[in-house]
């Protein structure tokens, strides 16, 4: 039996269109960009499959190709056994898409009215649709707010309504594009539990989850694929991620007396200025403390004072920044 999502040698090139001004002046348009290059992967049935990558890695382009909004430049894609080039309708019936974009609803209509409208686009009508909407609103704890305008919803409620919309036609496959991006930690935790326990655990849906959040990937995903600059860097379980993710450590230093970060401190370390004279340093520091000691000594040599130094978790962005430095 074929996997729910099969992607083989997929590529997507974005060619910028020439503006009228560029045509008249015969100037060159912006450079072409490979958003995806030779991407191959299979999402097994019933899995929560993570798509990890920094901004611009190609995650959203890949999800939009799967949901038939963008045509690939090359390669083949099969979703639910259907070829993307031939059978868009069948693919769209097999898929539900949850984006983090709050704009994709009618803000003056109620949550229920929104669901009723989008349900009709999946050829669901009448009592069957009303029952399905009532069931989903109840499952997603939106029943009491169902008849309030969407514009009055909190971010968490909007995200749950987006989830309800994606589930209207009960698809076997769900695409989730950073579903917890705009949620507070408690709402994000509830949504993750719903994804893991209800959608995947109870309903056995196959989930393809694009995320920035390493902890989210660790909590939810059975397998992950890491994208960088449109290429697959690696695939496996989160624990199996290649060592470039593992050697990363980050520290928050509170430093006084330094107005800018000197070049001598940038050796393999990503620096970010935070508020209140704080600096965030991320990179491979090693386990023996030597590199950190040298770094602190350099701060002192340059006339700075280290007020405090605490170890923190590196962000996924910092990990990917490091990876992208290493990838040709």
């Amino acid at each position: 039996m074929s996997a729910p999502i099969e992607i083989s040698h997929l590529s997507r090139l974005f060619k910028p269109r020439r503006s009228l001004g560029q045509l008249l002046t015969r100037s060159r348009p912006r450079a072409e960009t490979w958003a995806l290059r030779d991407v191959s992967l299979e999402v097994p049935e019933g899995a929560i499959f993570g798509l990890l990558g920094s901004n611009g890695a190609g995650k959203t382009t890949l999800l939009k190709i799967l949901s038939c909004l963008i045509l690939p430049t090359g390669g083949t894609v099969r979703v639910g056994g259907h070829d993307l080039q031939r059978n868009n309708g069948a693919i769209q019936r097999a898929l539900g898409f949850v984006s983090s974009d709050e704009r994709s609803f009618y803000w003056r209509l109620t949550g229920r009215q929104n669901l009723r409208f989008f349900g009709s686009l999946y050829q669901l009508y009448g009592k069957a649709l009303s029952d399905r909407i009532a069931y989903l609103l109840d499952r997603l704890e939106l029943g009491e707010q169902a008849d309030k305008p969407f514009g009055d919803y909190s971010s968490g409620m909007k995200q749950r309504l987006a989830m309800a919309r994606a589930l209207l036609h009960d698809p076997p496959i769900l695409l989730l594009d950073e579903p917890t991006r705009s949620l507070d930690p408690i709402s994000a935790k509830h949504l993750r539990r719903f994804i893991a326990e209800e959608l995947n655990g109870r309903e056995k849906k196959t989930l393809f989850l694009a995320t920035h959040n390493l902890q989210e990937a660790e909590q939810l995903c059975h397998r992950v694929v890491v994208l960088s600059k449109g290429r697959v860097l690696g695939e496996g379980s989160v624990e199996d991620l290649p060592p470039w993710g593992k050697g990363q450590e980050a520290y928050v230093l509170v430093v006084s007396g330094l107005n800018e970060i000197p070049t001598s401190l940038k050796n393999g370390i990503t620096w970010t200025s935070l508020t209140g004279g704080r600096l965030r340093a991320a990179g491979e520091f090693g386990r023996d403390g030597e590199k950190l000691s040298l770094l602190l000594a350099e701060v002192l040599r340059l006339g700075g004072r280290v007020v405090s130094c605490s170890k923190v978790e590196p962000t996924l962005q910092e990990v990917f920044d490091r990876i992208e430095e290493e990838v040709p």
């Binding site: 045509l71 868009n88 704009r103 409208f117 686009l121």
Partner: protein, 269 residues
């Protein structure tokens, strides 16, 4: 049947949205009342000479211009509604959500304009009803011909509107169809004055526009009570426009969708 139910869903959604903007609806009625009153005064002031409306002997200029203005709203509506709706859905992000569903794109576009055509019909009825208060006399002895011409008019104008939406989908802004057709129709289509009265045979350009035949047929049926068999030239001309413009609009739109998917700009604005 499912397509019809989908169209009803679009209509219902637009109705619910429109009902949340009650003031705008009241202001529209006020605007129509003002337009009718203004043209009643202008027509009374201008008093065109005898024979200025050669095809409509005995019909007052107020009746001529009011019917022209009222029914030309179908053209403005077709030209704007497909493109405006599409752009509105792009801006609100709902277009992307719709395009991810298995509903065919042409059905989405057609259904999006239903509410606008309904509201245009309400506006036209209001124009005629208010006109009647100012002395407009309508003939109802050729209603079958009137409805045939009206249906063909809406279809022909929709073809142009869909083509206009195709430009918006691909170019995002700068739709040349809307500008060209609306300007030419206002000038040469006989909305305000008969095209034959324009200097240097400029009125001949009106023969290339569907609005000329639409307004001629509607005026003849509603103002002169002309019978169906005498309106066949207008009906035939409109049928030719429908046969040309609807497939052209659909083909243009399909091409625009394909190009936008290739470029990855389908839901961009």
């Amino acid at each position: 049947m499912t397509r019809l139910r989908t169209m009803v869903a679009f209509f219902r959604k637009d109705l619910l949205e429109e009902m949340s903007y009650r003031t705008a609806f009241v202001m529209q009625i006020g605007g129509i009342l003002l337009t009718v009153s203004l043209w009643y005064l202008i027509a009374g002031f201008l008093k065109p000479p005898e024979g200025a409306l050669p095809e409509f002997p005995g019909v007052p200029y107020f009746a001529y211009v009011l019917v022209g203005i009222a029914f030309s709203h179908y053209l403005w509506s077709a030209l704007s509604s497909f493109a405006t709706k599409l752009r509105g859905e792009q801006l609100t992000g709902t277009l992307e959500a719709m395009l991810m569903t298995p509903t065919p794109i042409p059905l989405i576009i057609l259904s999006s304009a239903l509410w606008d055509f309904f509201m245009t019909s309400v506006r036209v009825v209001l124009y005629l009803a208010l006109g009647a208060c100012f002395g407009l006399q309508l003939r109802f002895d050729s209603l079958v011909a009137f409805f045939i011409i009206l249906l063909l008019t809406i279809l022909a104008f929709s073809g142009i509107g869909i083509l206009s939406a195709a430009f918006i989908l691909y170019l995002k802004r700068g739709d040349p169809i809307n500008f060209l057709i609306s300007s030419a129709s206002a000038l040469f289509g006989g909305v305000f004055i008969p095209a034959q009265t324009l200097p240097h045979h400029l009125g001949e350009l009106g023969r290339l526009l569907p609005i000329t035949y639409a307004l001629s047929g509607i005026r003849k049926s509603l103002l002169s009570g002309t019978r169906l068999q005498d309106l066949l030239p207008e009906i035939f001309a409109l049928m030719v426009f429908v046969a040309l413009l609807v497939p052209l609009g659909m083909a243009g739109f399909t091409l625009a969708v394909r190009k936008a998917r290739q470029e990855g700009s389908l839901a961009q604005y």
